[in-house]
């Protein structure tokens, strides 16, 4: 466990002394802020309209602002995750520092877990920055905090799974660009897989739709904690890390 932390701290150091972390934080904050601002704008407009028409339909901040914004955050995450993971192993392979890690008295699992954990922590910090937006809702309104917390938990779980896949892809090459592009492709595919359910209900379409990471986020954004979705994300993360371990092992046999 100590070794995991040593590696994790080194990775975080790498993120935060280079512009990578700040670039990601800024981009994420600006884009999510923009989505929040839009959602808020629509909410205020429709609130005024319904007042003008004299309707007394209740409006819900959780349903009308938090839920759509969280769904958007989960999609934006897909685009930024490759940037977080692409350097993890590719850079070490390119510069030869992987030899230092592998010949040190730490296990592969410790190295992989440490690196993945650092990626998850960076993403968590990014999420934390977006939470500032929602804090305004609590200041001026009275949304329910539980669905929001569950939504954030879902975002973190989803990111954990995708970051594990990105970590795996990073072990396959010594070129960061290739690692990033391939991870981006996979993330995008895992997002759009769900679209087949729009026109087909056959078994294969259901399977593809099930594999989409976005489908499983729906329940979280509604504030529903569904075991099957948690299991999906956790097992996807395990699968990614398992492949990473196998890939590192094969690295030694081939190199």
């Amino acid at each position: 466990m100590r070794n995991v932390w040593v590696i994790c701290r080194k990775e975080l150091h790498g993120y935060f002394v280079s512009p990578v972390a700040y670039l990601l934080l800024t981009m994420f904050a600006v884009i999510v802020g923009f989505f929040f601002w839009n959602a808020l704008g629509y909410f205020i407009l429709s609130a005024m309209e319904s007042q003008l028409r004299g309707q007394t339909q209740p409006m819900n901040i959780n349903e009308d602002i938090i839920r759509p914004v969280l769904s958007n955050v989960s999609v934006i995450g897909l685009f930024l995750i490759p940037v977080i993971t692409m350097r993890l192993f590719a850079e070490e392979k390119r510069s030869g520092t992987i030899e230092l890690l592998v010949t040190s008295p730490v296990t592969d699992v410790e190295i992989i877990t440490g690196k993945w954990l650092a990626a998850v922590i960076l993403y968590a910090v990014m999420l934390l920055v977006t939470a500032i937006n929602f804090s305004f809702l609590f200041r001026y309104g009275n949304p329910d905090w539980k669905p929001l917390a569950i939504g954030y938990l879902g975002l973190l779980l989803q990111a954990g799974a995708l970051l594990a896949i990105g970590t795996f892809i990073s072990t396959l090459t010594r070129n960061q660009i290739i690692a990033g592009a391939a991870t981006f492709g996979v993330c995008l595919l895992l997002w759009v897989l769900d679209w087949v359910s729009g026109y087909d209900q056959a078994t294969w379409a259901k399977v593809l739709s099930y594999m989409s990471v976005i489908t499983h986020f729906d329940s979280f954004s509604k504030g529903v904690l569904d075991t099957k979705d948690i299991i999906f994300y956790v097992s996807l993360a395990f699968l990614g890390l398992f492949f990473t371990a196998r890939s590192m092992e094969s690295l030694r046999w081939r190199s």
């Binding site: 070794n3 510069s95 010949t103």
Partner: protein, 332 residues
């Protein structure tokens, strides 16, 4: 300290290391010598548990590299060909990271970092980013990294490659000064380096072990086959090299005679000295008595370099054959 038996590394298409067997005693400096691509790095990577061997065993500091890799890794320090540095870290941060990675902590970690920065002379660049250091400093930080956890065995892959002559000398001195506390294996393709720094040498070529001996022994062995270079000129212009060759062969104690160079009026011969004492005076007398002029006569003691070339050539008959044929052709 290191026992290697039948160590082999095969890839899909080629065999990088082929049944190498050798032993290294505690506290020794051993030079791992071979031309580029001989399998030095692959062997070192197997000793450091970076690559698993296809066949054979390697026991480092009492532990098998395949069965107890963590125990081996705890006891080795490794400097790969390019020092494994993170450009965004300062030397101090880097050494702290490596120290922790190797299992040090607390005051022990701080003491060791202080010790290795002094030992490797990197005090003045301690707070500089590694990416901004010169090649010589990078190499020294690499060395500091390798010894930070006070390992029993140090494995250095071409530690002087790419340094300027002054830095090479400094690095060699540093390595020599480390010998008492650590058993050191260093690889190189530069021969004088082995002669200057190492006590024992392991020569490999094309993945095969060619020779393993002490440097002293190899040099003696080299002197054992001393040969003499003789330059002979004809008195009235023309000179028949074949006649001279036959004459030189008849001198008591001379072995093979090779014509090295022929011009119109003079030729250079290389005569193998088979006798205990020098045959130079006998050769001189034979040349002068036959009516030729003796322009030059000097002993061509084989350097370690020639021994090395000789040994690495023997192991590759396919390549050696045409060379020998050419020599015979020239001799006849």
């Amino acid at each position: 300290m290191i026992t290697v038996t039948g160590l082999t590394k095969r890839y899909a298409r080629n065999t990088a290391v082929d049944h190498i067997t050798f032993e290294v005693q505690k506290g020794q400096i051993v030079g791992f010598l071979g031309p580029n691509g001989a399998g030095k790095t692959t062997t070192m990577r197997m000793l450091t548990c970076f690559l698993p061997p296809t066949d054979g065993t390697a026991v480092v500091a009492g532990f098998d590299v395949l069965e107890h890799p963590l125990e081996v890794k705890r006891r080795i320090g490794y400097l790969p060909e390019t020092p494994p540095l993170y450009p965004e870290m300062s030397a101090a941060e880097y050494l702290e990271f490596v120290g922790k990675l190797k299992g040090l902590s607390g005051s022990e970690l701080r003491q060791r970092i202080d010790y290795v920065t002094r030992r490797c002379n990197i005090d003045d660049v301690k707070h500089k980013l590694l990416g901004k250091l010169s090649k010589g400093y990078r190499q020294r930080v690499g060395l500091a990294q390798a010894i930070v956890h006070n390992p029993d065995v140090l494995i250095l892959d071409e530690p002087t490659a790419g340094l300027d002559p002054k830095q090479i000398n400094e690095t060699r001195d540093l390595i020599k000064s480390l010998a008492g506390d650590h058993t050191i294996v260093l690889s190189t393709h530069i021969l004088p380096e082995v002669e200057q720094t190492c006590e024992q040498v392991i020569i490999i070529n094309k993945g095969k072990l060619v020779a393993t001996d002490s440097v002293q022994h190899l040099q003696n062995r080299a002197r054992g086959v001393e040969s003499v270079l003789v330059e002979v000129a004809g008195r009235n212009g023309a000179l028949d090299p074949l006649t001279v060759q036959r004459c030189l062969e008849q001198v008591a104690g001379s072995g093979r005679v090779i014509v090295k160079e022929t011009r119109s009026d003079r030729s250079i011969f290389e005569v193998e000295n088979r006798k205990e004492r020098s045959i130079r005076s006998d050769l001189a007398r034979a040349v002068v008595e036959s009516g030729w002029d003796l322009n030059e006569l000097r002993s061509a003691a084989m350097s370690l370099e020639e021994v090395f070339l000789e040994l690495t050539r023997e192991e590759a008959p396919a390549h050696a054959a045409p060379v020998e044929m050419a020599e015979k052709g020239a001799a006849q």
